[in-house]
Subunit: 171 residues, 2 copies
DNA sequence: TGTTTTGTTCATTTCATATTGAACACTTCG
DNA sequence: CGAAGTGTTCAATATGAAATGAACAAAACA
């Protein structure tokens, strides 16, 4: 497998300059770490490095993605509070710009991506105790109940740590 | 689409009791959030809820996964420090048990999954400034340099927050 | 009203990644 | 030594999530 040269990466976005392409790569990687699709990274990166607000069709052209992707990506980013709509005068299209307040971004991510999973885990764990109680062998039952306790303890830590994170990262 | 009943989920693991199946589901979901493959969640979950250490073939049988998956999954879990090898007497096979110390788990995850990405992002961002300097229009250049600064600032926060996380979650 | 612009939806396709399983290496035993 | 037991590797495959794009609304014009 030949190594990927930087030029190759940049040709990925024929409509963009090197800086824009590099920034977008950073965000694509970042979003991947957070479990978000690459198109969302591309869109946010594009808006982040654009001095002017961009319309949906701007994104479609510059990134070479479909209208569907752009639409869905923008919806998700709005949900995260990562993108602001601005109604530019002398155009009836909607234009978007990146919101760069870390506190808001972290908050949105936690609200949309972390909390739901924590809560569903929470409810799953709630049902575990009764399953453990059903074990006949007392030694095993003890072990199982301990493990369930452990899980509950971890969840507790999780709930404790989230607001802390928000506070620390809040500028 | 008919709703998934709990029985259906449990039939997924014919060799397991309800408690084991439920616990494994919790870990599969959890690992998915962290971006790790389901087989790793299954293996760790199985070990977590097993009172005795299990061999590779135990995992293959009980979870219904391939030897290849089990082997690779165990390797990854060892890398994360989430699994301990114990050499059981009267068996020459290697047996494994879950390590449940949260501090160790968080540390392993940060070391294996988070740090590498942070560092690659770091180096990418390092190269951005020169690209921004290349912009001719002074107003745009100013904007670009500000955004790059912003990125650097975020990275800094990230590096600052990780050890804090480890400390807070350390039992 | 009909037409154009703008954006959304969702069945299909594409693509990245996880999983498989057969071949392989290494031990241990007889 | 050969045979059986144990675990790894990796090319091929299966799977699931994301991207596509055509059909569809909804609004803005003329």
């Amino acid at each position: 497998m030949p190594p990927v040269r930087e030029e190759d990466e940049i040709r990925e976005f024929p409509a963009l300059g090197p800086l824009e392409a590099q920034v977008i790569h950073v965000f694509v990687d970042g979003m991947k770490v957070l479990g978000l699709p690459r198109s969302i990274g591309e869109i946010y990166g594009m808006l982040f490095i654009s001095p002017e607000p961009l319309s949906l069709d701007d994104l479609v052209e510059r990134l070479g993605i479909s209208k569907g992707s752009a639409s869905q990506g923008l919806r998700a980013l709005k949900g995260l509070g990562a993108v602001r709509e601005t109604s530019l005068e002398n155009s009836r299209r909607c234009h978007y710009e990146a919101d760069t307040e870390l506190k808001r971004l972290v908050g949105g991510f936690i609200r949309e991506q972390v909390r739901p999973h924590l809560e569903s885990g929470q409810s799953k764990i709630g049902k575990l105790t009764e399953s453990a109680e059903g074990e006949d062998d007392p030694e095993r039952r003890e072990f199982y109940l301990n493990r369930v306790k452990q899980l509950e303890h971890w969840m507790q830590k999780g709930r404790f740590v989230l607001p802390l994170l928000q506070k620390v990262l809040g500028e």
